[in-house]
């Protein structure tokens, strides 16, 4: 499996990740090597095997449901404490709507 530079750029775009030219070059090599190793799984016939979507099945389907009652919230002030930019009780981000 050979991963090209344009594939790396495409995936980085999906992942919202800005990469430098040297990083792109290194990732081409790393991803190619690791994905080639992963091809080993194709040696196995898995037809008829259920995917392991759940790790454990010890509880009934509804066991983890709780009563729909409100909890004490964190509070606006506390929730905003770690925001890189906040104002007027909100999280602030760059403007997304142009006038």
């Amino acid at each position: 499996m050979k991963i090209t530079e344009s594939e790396v750029r495409y995936v980085a775009d999906l992942a919202q990740l800005n990469l430098g030219e040297d990083e792109i070059e290194k990732l081409c090599a790393d991803l190619s090597q690791i994905l080639t190793y992963m091809e080993k799984l194709n040696q196995l016939d898995t037809s008829g095997v259920e995917p392991m979507a759940q790790v454990l099945y010890d509880a009934e389907e509804t066991a983890t449901l709780r009563d729909d009652r409100p909890h004490e919230p964190l509070g606006q002030g506390v929730a905003l404490l770690n925001a890189p930019m906040a104002g007027a009780g909100h999280f602030k981000i760059p403007k997304v709507i142009e006038r």
Binding site: I3, E7, V8, V11, A12, L14, A15, Q16, L17, N18, L19, G20, E23, K26, L27, D30, L31, Q33, I34, L35, Y37, M38, E39, K40, L41, N42, Q43, L44, T46, V49, E50, P51, M52, A53, V55, L56, D58, A59, A63, T64, R66, L74, V78, A79, L81, N82, A83, P84, M85, F91, I93, P94, V96
Partner: protein, 480 residues
């Protein structure tokens, strides 16, 4: 009081006999830890105020004649991927350099309720991704037993702190071996409980179908005490299990005669010579203890690494999508547009290993590849879990090495990510199957490097696993 060698029980006895107070234990340990820390870089921060408040509560309870709890006065180090209210939690990442959580993880809440003392937060690979602790944005951790070597990862800080004696026990997290491998490299006990045994509420998510919180300690009994306190259902973690929690310490009764042990032949290929010798001698000890040892096969072992790195990177790329610098985390200075903000923040904030895993995960989940990678890996995971289910029809425990080799040198594997991934060969299967597994020290190599033996048991049979480890430890490990 020898701070660096204290056990949970010694602290309890000392407190009850009024030989020392919880405040004294806390102050002495803090002083010792702060002085010793530059040798290993195990701690990223200390929490003296909170520690002394907890110690005061324990001393007040003792003065009133109340039960101060299972972990009364026990200094605990907590891996920096587990959130602590008011105590900075970085996950070893530049992105969270200034993150101060507004709440406590359930495991932290429980250990403090049991009288435990949160001493500080310990170093780890960024977002728990790594096998050497070299991926921390705040510098690598050094192995206290050989400072030119790695402590293992990703719970390198917790393992080093416990080995160094700067904490009595520690909380780590394990996704593919991140508690057991550093425990083996540092010569301490590391326990990965059954998936769901311990609440992950407040554990910063890496790969949700594989993440566990687990204890590290200098002996099996201390690890059992910590597990006792943190185990059990938590309504705030829907994946936490309802299964009742037995009294683990009471079950450390040495009754291991007749325990059937399986040695999977696939785990004994490619071991370094000294690791192989020590494991062989450990098996001889288990036989002397009256265990019935037989060879077994776990035929899908060779597919485990490929399977694991597809699933964990896929889940990691989804979990790490939350680092968008809106609600928390460091924001890039270059933010003209919203898109810039995301891309530059993430590009500047994540280290090389996180980027590699985000990219791998995004690739295997991308349109057209989902079936070939993620779905395929989930099916292979079923086969790996079935291997263990089959084995446990014939045996009560599976015993293997933890790592093919002891602690390697800093820098030795950083340039070869695949070689680093391959070093997780023996530990990832337990996480994939969701079964309890642990590392118990068996001895040291001629260079003085510790080697760990891994024990794996059936779902929720932590008691059987700990009983066997405790008997083995008391028999002297490989020297028994």
């Amino acid at each position: 009081m020898d701070i660096a060698a204290l056990t949970v029980e010694e602290i309890r006895v000392g407190l009850e006999a009024r030989r020392f107070s919880a405040r004294e234990v806390t102050e002495e340990t803090l002083r010792f830890a702060q002085a010793e820390n530059p040798k290993t870089n195990a701690y990223l921060c200390f929490s003296p105020e909170r520690a002394l408040q907890s110690a005061a509560r324990v001393d007040e309870k003792l003065a009133r004649g109340e039960d101060p709890g299972t972990l009364a006065g026990v200094p605990v180090a907590v891996k920096d991927v587990i959130v602590t209210q008011g105590v900075r939690t970085t996950c070893g990442s530049r992105l969270l350099e200034n993150y101060t959580p507004p709440y406590d993880a359930t495991a932290v809440e429980r250990l403090e309720a049991a009288g435990g003392i949160l001493l500080g937060k310990t170093n780890c690979d960024e977002f728990a991704m790594g096998s050497s602790n070299e991926n921390s944005a705040f510098g690598p951790v050094r192995n206290p037993l050989a400072t030119d070597r790695v402590p293992g990862g990703s719970s390198g800080g917790p393992a080093a702190a416990v080995a160094q004696g700067t904490a009595v026990v520690a909380l780590g997290s394990d996704t593919g071996g991140s508690v057991r491998q550093p425990a083996s490299f540092c010569g301490v006990v590391g326990v990965t409980p059954t998936y769901g045994r311990v609440s992950r509420y407040g554990l910063v998510a890496f790969a949700s179908s594989l993440d566990h919180i687990g204890p590290l300690a200098r002996n099996v009994r201390d690890a059992a005490s910590l597990l006792q306190v943190i185990a059990g259902r938590d309504p705030r973690d829907a994946t936490s299990a309802f299964a009742p929690v037995p009294d683990y310490c009471a079950l450390l009764d040495g009754k291991v005669r007749g325990v059937r042990i399986g040695l999977p032949r696939e785990y004994f290929e490619g071991l370094s010579r000294e690791t192989g010798d020590l494991i062989e001698r450990s098996i001889a000890t288990l036989k002397k203890l009256g265990c019935e040892v037989r060879e077994i096969s776990l035929p899908h072992t060779e597919y485990a690494i490929g399977c694991y790195y597809i699933i964990c990177t896929a889940e990691a790329s989804s979990n790490l999508a939350r680092y968008d610098s809106v609600r928390y985390g460091r924001r890039s200075a270059a933010v003209e547009t919203l898109s810039d903000m995301y891309r530059n923040t993430r590009g500047e904030g994540f280290g090389a290993e996180c980027k590699r895993r985000i990219m791998l995960g995004a690739y295997v989940l991308s349109a057209g590849y989902y079936d070939a990678y993620y779905l395929k890996a989930q099916k292979v995971r079923t086969l790996i879990a079935r291997d263990f289910a089959e084995a446990f029809r014939e045996v009560d425990a599976v015993v293997t090495p933890v790592s093919p080799f002891p602690a390697f040198r800093l820098g030795e594997k950083v340039d070869d990510p695949l070689a680093m991934y391959l070093s997780d060969i023996y530990t990832i299967t337990g996480d994939l199957a969701g079964i309890p597994c642990m590392s118990v020290p068996c001895g040291t190599t001629s260079e003085g490097l510790p080697v760990g033996m891994q024990i794996l048991t059936r779902h929720f049979d932590e008691a059987g696993m700990l009983r066997l480890a405790d008997a083995f430890e008391r028999a002297g490990g490989a020297e028994g």
